[in-house]
């Protein structure tokens, strides 16, 4: 085929002036050609198209640049410490001992605990808005309020957690007989649990609303109760979508920095239980990045950033893939 789709790449010769001289061309074309406007238009059109392509390339470069920067800056640590850095149990920059295990563990425990706490709530919101009461002012209010949870800055969650939640947790710890510090993994998980509710809830709601009503009607027609329809039709139909929403929440929790930094206690030792103070990857970077005075120290922190980047990217991509598959079905 000799003519392709694109009509760009117009050269000056293509715009042969005979176009203007052509018999019967409307007055307008003649008048406009005199002002050379079409030529300018076409040049702008090409510049614009090229700009758009550059923007598209820019996004790819940006992400590759981020990855490259992280890798290059973690090289000193990767070279000096090797892969055993990741399961090294001691982090003591003064003695030049670097082990990431306390942070990996702290991140995993705090995120999964948060996820565990938040799932019943976010799924309840999703079912309430998606199935029970999709319309009306009260559900609408609930929907907007849950969205607002995501809008509150994390530093405010952290501050509130420090001032209000930590004393409550300290009391609680006193009662159950663990060391009453207040700050620690448990407090940060509670804060995180609140913060990540909206992500799973809003995705879950839209997934549940996509369940074909014919399926539900078929079950109702067999005499199923509302709960039975939800359990045996709605939830199985949307389980991959709900899972994707939970993954997105997890991605949020893993990367969350400020709120966690403010209430987790910032102790770089392996947490003994869920109430002990600890550190996550993000919080240790936030705390120590500007203090890192040695090349390997700084590089070790960046390597944590690299790990965090890779883990969140993988989790988000899996979530996105599941959503894409779900919505195209």
């Amino acid at each position: 085929m000799d003519r392709s789709v694109e009509n760009d790449a117009i050269t000056r010769s293509d715009l042969s002036l005979r176009v203007i001289s052509s018999a019967g061309a409307g007055q307008l074309v003649k008048a406009k050609a005199k002002t050379r406007r079409p030529f300018r238009q076409i040049r702008t059109e090409n510049v614009f198209k090229r700009t758009l392509v550059i923007m598209g390339i820019l996004m790819v470069i940006l992400v590759l640049g981020i990855l490259l920067t992280l890798v290059v800056q973690s090289l000193p640590s990767i070279k000096a410490l090797g892969p055993k850095y990741l399961w090294g149990k001691v982090w003591d920059p003064v003695q030049d001992i670097y082990g990431a295990w306390p942070f990996l563990l702290g991140t995993l425990i705090s995120s999964f605990l948060a996820l565990f706490i938040s799932i019943p709530f976010s799924i309840a919101v999703a079912i309430f808005l998606g199935e029970y009461y999709p319309k009306g002012w009260l559900p609408n209010l609930l929907k907007n309020t849950v969205e607002l949870i995501a809008a509150v800055p994390s530093v405010i969650y952290g501050f509130w957690g420090l001032a209000v939640l930590v004393p409550i947790v300290r009391n609680f710890e006193n009662k159950i007989g663990v060391q009453p510090v207040g700050v620690g993994i448990f407090s940060s998980s509670l804060i995180l649990a609140v913060m990540i509710i909206p992500y799973a809830a809003s995705l879950g709601r839209s997934m549940i609303q996509m369940v074909p009503s014919t399926l539900k009607e078929a079950a109702y027609g067999l005499g199923a109760t509302r709960w039975e329809v939800i359990r045996s039709v709605v939830l199985p139909y949307t389980k991959s979508g709900l899972f994707a929403g939970i993954l997105l929440s997890l991605g949020r929790a893993l990367g969350e920095t400020m709120a966690v930094t403010m209430v987790i206690g910032n102790t770089s030792i392996i947490p003994k239980n869920i109430f002990s103070p600890g550190n996550t990857m993000a919080s240790v970077i936030a705390n120590e990045f500007t203090e890192a005075d040695k090349a390997v120290y700084l590089s070790a922190l960046i390597e944590l950033g690299l790990v965090l980047f890779l883990v969140t990217v993988v989790i988000n991509m899996i979530g996105k893939k599941i959503i894409d598959r779900f919505t195209t079905e």
């Binding site: 923007m55 001032a163 109760t225």
Partner: protein, 282 residues
């Protein structure tokens, strides 16, 4: 059929429904608690003096958050100037090229960008700007925040433009309009409410971001408008003062929290209104 078992099933169903309602509305409780507490703790601290003065050293009474307010506005403005045009143009690119290879990679990159933890963006801005320029600067903070804005602006632009009917574009092309005019005179004006709401949401989101500013804008106890120098911002101030041991500073941080919270919530509400008001009826 056994009537008892039917009753049991109905009861179970109602029980589950009640539990769902209970759990769903329980989500609102922490948010309300936070709002209530922040308003209670912050409202008494806010007055004119608070808004137009810079913080005083520990031990002196009074002082305000003018440096952080001005800093936040400047950092956000610069970030928007960088991110909004690039974001909208990229969104246009993606909606106009749905199938191309480059669009696929580009879209994937935007998806990845959306999930990058904010602290990592801070590290990146540190190595791209702070180190080469040999010093913390508001500009580096703005670039970090701009990177965070980008995916939101891109996706909302793309999603909005994708929903516009092709007939609009055809009408414009058939009138002999060049591509850029079709986009800027027809497509963008018709999708303006969606694009704007994406821009405003992205601003609302970065207004509260602290992590990317920790090692970029860094903070500054004095009022400055020089974007090549360290600058304070509201969330940074809240973080620094909230984690300090001084009660005076905590008070300052409560006032700042209330202002930040109102700023973010108003932006969210405003976005909703604009989306409704400026929507072009197709």
């Amino acid at each position: 059929m056994n009537i008892g078992s039917v009753n049991y099933r109905i009861g179970k169903s109602i029980g589950f429904q009640l539990a769902t309602i209970l759990f769903a509305f329980a989500c609102v409780v922490p948010l309300l608690a936070i709002l209530f507490y922040i308003v209670k703790a912050g409202i008494t601290k806010i007055n004119w003096h608070f808004l137009v003065n810079v913080p005083k050293p520990v031990g002196e009474i009074g002082g305000g958050i003018a440096n952080a307010l001005v800093g936040s506005v400047i950092i956000i403005l610069v970030a928007s100037v960088i991110a909004v045009p690039i974001g909208i143009m990229t969104g246009i690119f993606l909606s106009e090229n749905r199938k191309s290879k480059l669009a696929y990679w580009s879209r994937l990159s935007v998806d990845i960008l959306q999930g990058v933890p904010s602290i990592v963006i801070g590290i990146i801005a540190y190595f791209w700007l702070v180190k080469p320029l040999r010093g913390f600067s508001a500009l580096s903070g703005s670039v970090a925040l701009a990177i965070m804005m980008l995916p939101i602006v891109v996706r909302s632009t793309e999603e909005t433009l994708k929903l516009l009917p092709d007939s609009l574009k055809e009408a414009a092309y058939a009138l002999g309009m060049p591509f850029h005019r079709v986009i800027f005179k027809v497509i963008v004006p018709c999708g303006i409410s969606g694009i704007l709401s994406g821009v405003m949401l992205s601003i609302a989101r970065i207004t509260g971001e602290t992590a990317p500013l920790l090692f970029t804008a860094f903070g500054n106890p004095y009022l400055t408008t020089n974007i090549t120098k360290p600058m304070h911002s509201l969330p940074l101030l809240i973080f620094n003062y909230a984690t300090s041991p001084y009660n005076d500073w905590h008070d300052l941080a409560w006032g700042a929290s209330l202002i930040l919270l109102m700023w973010v919530l108003l932006l969210n509400i405003f976005t909703k209104l604009i989306t409704r008001k400026w929507k072009v009826q197709l």
